[in-house]
Amino acid sequence: MSTPLKFYQVGSFAVGNRLLGDEQLSVQSRSDRTNSLTSGHRACQGCGEALGARYVMDAAMAATDGKVIAVNATGCLEVFSTPYPETSWRLPWMHSLFGNAAPVATGVAFALKAQGRSDIRVVAQGGDGGTVDIGFGPLSGMFERNDDVLYVCYDNEAYMNTGVQRSGATPPAARTNTTHAVGENPGASFTQGKNLPKIAMAHGIPYVATASVSDLHDLEEKVTKAMSMHGARYLHVLVPCPLGWGTKSEETIKLARLATESGLFPIYEAENGVITETKKIRKQVPVDEYLQIQKRFAHLFGPKGNPEIVKAIQAIADRNIAEYELLGERQ
């Protein structure tokens, strides 16, 4: 995962330009990219999930010579991409149910194995709800069997498709329509949460990684790497949702970056249950900077705000930074 050219002028490593050599050119900046999720779909403006899915699928297609079968859980991605006859998918794509993307993908993988089609690869994808909640058991089964599937979770931290309700991935204090910002403890409660990348690692599967739409080149590289491997692989991508988070459409990338730079969303890779690489934060950003620009956390700020809760969230970020050793220069 190395990018020798650094682009300090934008404060990020995002690279989508034509200055790099062919080796480092992103999939998305190539003229022969597949446009697997093509334009014209019905995602909201600034949808992180649409962006993430496009990069993931094009990278997977590039890595497999265009031989990918995609399986999708119910959720925003499925709904905004498929109303017929306007399907946006330009690869073989299937949606079955909310909680079964993993086992449907397993079925595809075994069918291909039975047919001797080792050249065709399978990618399953779903939202955080489909992944950490309703599809969790089946996903764990897929991990445990080490089925030959790359599963990608697009984490926007709530059930967005049904109108923004709390999921097992909703962060503490966040307002959703089932965790209203009223009463004594406004917003989602402070729970242990459900850290799916860690749970995936505990299965000892060949590859687990987190990624974010704030670093699309890194996302592409991780997909490319995942597709070079076999067995169960898991990729957890943070995808801000302007509608659910109450954020400006043009700030999706900025939000994703702040989530990482504050320490709230650590970015790393693990192989066979062991972390092999962590994306360093050059300068830790206080969580306020990230939280303040989101309406779902509005109740924490201002005259009626709750600095104690902000502190508690800061503590989570600090704990992540210590646990994953996030501070320092990127190698």
Binding site: I69, V79, L91, M94, P103, A105, T106, G107, V108, R145
Partner: protein
């Protein structure tokens, strides 16, 4: 070749002869022996390159089947009871998508109270799931119907459930002619899917469909079921030509129903599944005494052969439907279908719920049923061999005290301590 073999094993060997590409399963009694045998057959390389997938739930079993079938694989799974209920969501999904999966349901009661024994409330609960449902009367037909099921499923692009009574059939040793692979290959051509996930010709499957076409998609599912009513008789007679016996058993009529002494029958007993064996014995006994009794079995419950049922039953004077499940709050399930078939014809139809949760259906009880039907003393709806006193004592306890405790446990306690 004729062999003394357990029903489950005969089914497993027949499935193997059908050469599925993917078999996925989750264990539940009384289905277990089928999938255990298939695991072994797969490992021994008896099913070519077939992949046997041990999943972590029935929900995943049907989901794996969906993915495999949509990728062009001939796909099989088996379940029962709670397992069938656990996979209901993907069961509907499979039929809605039109995927030709074949599934055995080893019929077993549904809890609560938890009960592993046989009745048909599991598959009956899925009668409107869009799957074709074929019911086997004995183990020869249980095995054979699976071959027909694959052919039918793939011809129509619709999933098929083959229902066989748990334990009574799955665990019974009988002399069975397990179909030879050469003959199966002759009868069941290579699977050519109508829709397939393929990078060469990418399609989207399972997209959102709004009011503009949803009714039409559902109509086509219904249409295919009706089409099955035409195709099953064809496939059935072709089966007989290839294998030298009908797939649905000796009294087979067009693969849709079975008829036993119906020609002049005044009283006709109607049923699905293995209970027809006992019913036929009762018919024989009554016939010896000069009573004109007959039996009709329903092989294809979905689609329901309205015409064949009507033609077979319209000359009867009394019909008794023996049901292995019922619809609480109204009564018979099969009977209401029979009534639809006979609409406009004035024939007395009695519904008798029998053999719930494994209660034996004895020849004596069936014979009494015929007598009572003849004398006109059978209620419209009744439960065979119901322990009325046991029920009444519980109702009394309910009246005596508000906190009368858990019902099922009360009954067991009552039985155990009297």
């Amino acid at each position: 070749m004729l062999q003394q073999i357990e029903g489950s094993k005969a089914v497993a060997e027949t499935i193997a002869a059908c050469m599925p590409d993917v078999v996925c399963a989750y264990p539940i009694s009384p289905q277990t022996h089928i999938v255990e045998a298939l695991d072994e057959l797969t490992r021994l390389g008896k099913i070519g390159n077939c992949q046997f997938v041990n999943v972590e739930s029935e929900f995943s079993a049907m989901s794996v089947a969906i993915g495999a079938s949509a990728t062009g694989a001939r796909t099989y799974t088996a379940t029962a009871s709670q397992g069938l209920l656990f996979m209901v969501e993907p069961v509907y999904n499979a039929s809605g998508l039109g995927l030709p999966i074949v599934m055995t349901v080893a019929n077993r009661a549904i809890g609560s109270p938890i009960n592993i024994w046989n009745d048909q409330s599991d598959s009956m609960s899925q009668r409107d799931s869009g799957w074709i449902q074929l019911y086997a009367q004995d183990n020869q037909s249980a095995a054979d119907l699976h071959i027909l099921a694959f052919r039918l499923a793939e011809e129509l692009s619709l999933p098929v459930m083959v229902c066989m009574d748990g334990f009574i059939l799955t665990h019974a040793m009988e002399e069975i002619d397990v179909a030879e692979k050469e003959l199966v290959t002759k009868y069941l051509p290579k699977f050519t899917p109508r829709q397939v996930l393929d990078p060469v010709d990418p399609v989207s499957i399972g997209a959102m469909v709004g009011p503009e076409a949803f009714t039409e998609v559902k109509y086509l599912g219904h249409f295919k079921q009706l089409k099955a009513l035409e195709i099953i008789p064809e496939l059935s007679s072709e089966f007989e030509e290839v294998f030298g016996r009908p797939a649905a058993g000796p009294d087979n009529y067009k693969g849709l129903v079975t008829k036993y002494h119906l020609e002049d029958a005044e009283v006709v007993l109607v049923a699905l599944g293995s209970v027809l064996g006992t019913i036929k014995d009762a018919v024989d006994n009554h016939r010896k005494n000069g009573v004109k009794v007959g039996a009709m079995g329903i092989t294809s419950f979905r689609p329901f052969p309205l015409d064949e049922v009507r033609k077979s039953l319209k000359h009867a004077q009394k019909i008794v439907v023996v049901e292995r499940a019922f619809a609480p709050g109204i009564g018979g399930i099969v009977s209401s279908n029979i009534r639809t078939a006979l609409s406009g014809i004035d024939i007395k139809i009695n519904t008798v719920v029998a053999g719930l949760g494994g209660r034996p259906i004895t020849l004596k009880s069936i014979s009494e049923l015929v007598d009572r039907a003849l004398y006109g003393t059978l209620p419209d709806f009744s439960f065979m061999d119901l322990d009325v006193e046991l029920v009444e004592r519980e109702l009394e306890r309910n009246l005596l005290t508000r906190r009368s405790g858990p019902m099922a446990e009360n009954l067991l306690k009552d039985l155990g301590t009297r």
